[in-house]
Amino acid sequence: MLDLRLTHHFADFTLDAAFSAPAGVTALFGRSGSGKTTIVNALAGLLKPDAGRITMDETILFDSTQKICVRPHQRRIGYVFQDARLFPHLNVRQNLGYGRWFARGEPSSVEVQRIIDLLGLGPLLQRRPGDLSGGEKQRVALGRAILSKPRFLLMDEPLAALDAPRKAEILTYLERLRDETNLPILYVSHAVAEVARLATTVVLIENGRVQAAGPVAEILSDPATAPALGLREAGAILMARVEAHEDDGLSRLQSQAGPVWLPHLNAAPGASIRLRILAQDVLLATKRPTDISALNVLDATVRAVRLGDGPGALVQLQAGDSRLLARITARSARALDLQPGKPVFAILKAVSVARDDIGDST
C-alpha cells in the first residue's frame, strides 16, 4: 500500500494531492498539465516536493517534517518512462539485466525466463535498442523495471508515444502482468479506455488536486466525475463472467447487473471479462420495452440525476450489484420524471469488451 500526501509550488501552479494506492493497478488520471508527472517524479525521488509525506507499506520514502528523503536508487520503485530510456550501449539482454545487478535477492533465472516469456522478449535478446520498434522498446523497459525487483511500479503514460496496434499489444502484456504478478502499479494516463481496461483503482487529478478516488467501477459510473473524464468517454464498467456460447453465435454472460448477450466472444466459459458501457449507449425506459431489437435490457433504479450546463443530463443507475451511467437529454429526464429511487429499464445499444475498444478511443 502506497500512501502519498504532497504539496509543491510551481511558478503558475500548485500541486496539493493526497491518495493511497492499494494492490493492483491504480490509474492516475488527468489531463496534461494536471500534475500527474510531478506526482510520479516525487514518488521516484527525481523531484523533491516542498512538503508532504510518502510511505510505502511501513517504509518512509519522503517526509518533509522529519527531513527524510530517500535517494532514488534506494527507493526500489521501478519506473517505466514514456520514452523507454533503454541504455543504447547495451543489448536487450544486458538492459534487462541492468537492474538485477543492483537488486537485493536478485531474481532467479527461472523468474527472469518467466518475465522474458510473459513479455515476449525471447527473440529480441541480442538486439540493440536502436534496432527495436517503439512497442518492443516499451516491452523491454517494462521487463527491465520488473527485473530490478521493485516494491512498486510507476508507469508514466507508457503508451502515449505508440500507435494504436502497438498500444493494444502492450496492453495485453500489462493485463497479464496485473493478473500474474502481485506488483502494485501506479499507471499514469489521460486515456479513459486504458484506465477502463487496466485499473482497479482510479485517482482523478484536476489542476493539481485529487477530484475523486476509489474503485474503478465506482469512479467511472459517477456522474460527478464524468465531465472530467470527457462526456463522450464516460461510461460504467461491468464485471462479467462468460456463461455459455449459444448456437446462434451469441455468448451469454452473467454480469453483476444481470444477463448480457454479446456476439461470440473468444473466451472460455467461466472466464472473467470487463465490459465497458458508454453512457451515450444507454437508453432509458420507464416501462419494460417490448418488441425492440436491443438484446440487453437491464432492470435498474435511478440513483442520481445530474443536469449539465447544456441540454444533456447524466443519470446514474443501480443495476444489481453494479452501477451504470446513462447520458440522455435534460428534456427526457423531465418527461420521464426521473428521480432517485425510480425503477427504470436500461437498454444497452452497445456493449464493448474493455479489451477491444482501445485502438479507436484515444
Partner: protein, 234 residues
C-alpha cells in the same frame, strides 16, 4: 631505419613522444573531472573555471610558458615547494616539458570530453537510478561507456597537441638537446643553421605524420560516440 634520421633527431622524436604520452596520461583524470564539472554541475565560479581552462588556447604560448616559469621555476612559489619538500625540480627538465605540454593540450582534451558528456541524455541516468544504481555506478555503467570514445578522442587530440607544443615549452624549459629538445624545438634549431633545410624536411614529415594520424583517429572515435549513443550495431 636508424640511418633515416640521425641519433639526435631520433632523440628529439622519442622525447616528443615520451613528453606527449606522459602529458596526456597525467591530464586524463583531471580533464575528465573538469569536463564533467563543466557539463553537469552547477557551482559558483563555473564561468571562471571555464575561462581558466581555455586560457592556454587563447593566450600567446610564450605567456603561458612564462607564467609556468614564474610559478614552477626554482625560485617560483610552487617550484620552491616542490624542491624543498620532494626534491623535485621540473624547470629545464623533460618533466617540465610534460607540464607545459599538458597545460597547453588541456583545453582541447576538456572540450572533446565535455561535448561527449553533454551528448549523454541525463534521462538515461535517471533511468539507471530508478533501477537501483547510485551515482558512482551510474557513471561507471552508463555515462562512462557512452563517453568512452569521446574520452579517447580528447586524449588523442591532446597527444597530438602535446607533440607539437613549442612556445610554452621553449619558454619554460628552454631548448636543451637530449633534455628538453622535442621535435618542434629540434626543427626550429635546425632552421637556425644555414643549409639545414633537407634535415628539417625529414622532421617536418614526421611531425605531419603524427598530427595527421592523430586527427584521423580522433575523427573515427567521434563517429564511434555517435554510433553508441544511437544504439545501433553498425
Amino acid at each position: 631505419m636508424t640511418d633515416w634520421l640521425s641519433p639526435e633527431e631520433w632523440q628529439a622524436v622519442a622525447l616528443s613522444l615520451k613528453v606527449a604520452l606522459w602529458a596526456t596520461l597525467l591530464s586524463l583524470p583531471f580533464g575528465l573531472l573538469t569536463a564533467h564539472a563543466l557539463a553537469r554541475w552547477q557551482f559558483p565560479g563555473k564561468a571562471l573555471l571555464n575561462g581558466v581552462v581555455h586560457l592556454p588556447l587563447i593566450m600567446p604560448p610564450v605567456v603561458t610558458g612564462y607564467l609556468l616559469l614564474m610559478a614552477f621555476g626554482r625560485r617560483g612559489p610552487i617550484g620552491t615547494l616542490l624542491e624543498d619538500w620532494f626534491g623535485i625540480v621540473i624547470a629545464f627538465r623533460w618533466t617540465g616539458a610534460v607540464l607545459a605540454a599538458a597545460v597547453m593540450a588541456f583545453p582541447l582534451m576538456v572540450r572533446a570530453m565535455r561535448l561527449a558528456i553533454e551528448a549523454v541524455d541525463p534521462k538515461l541516468e535517471q533511468a539507471a537510478s530508478s533501477l537501483g544504481a547510485n551515482r558512482f555506478w551510474i557513471f561507471v555503467t552508463v555515462t562512462l561507456p557512452l563517453i568512452l570514445p569521446g574520452i579517447l578522442a580528447g586524449a588523442v587530440l591532446a597527444f597530438a597537441k602535446a607533440t607539437g607544443e613549442f612556445g610554452a615549452t621553449i619558454t619554460f624549459v628552454s631548448n636543451i638537446p637530449g633534455q628538453t629538445q622535442t621535435l618542434p624545438l629540434a626543427i626550429y634549431s635546425i632552421l637556425q643553421i644555414p643549409g639545414g633545410e633537407a634535415q628539417a624536411f625529414r622532421l617536418v614529415g614526421v611531425a605531419i605524420a603524427v598530427s595527421m594520424g592523430a586527427l584521423l583517429l580522433s575523427e573515427w572515435l567521434a563517429r564511434a560516440v555517435a554510433r553508441r549513443i544511437g544504439g545501433r550495431d553498425a
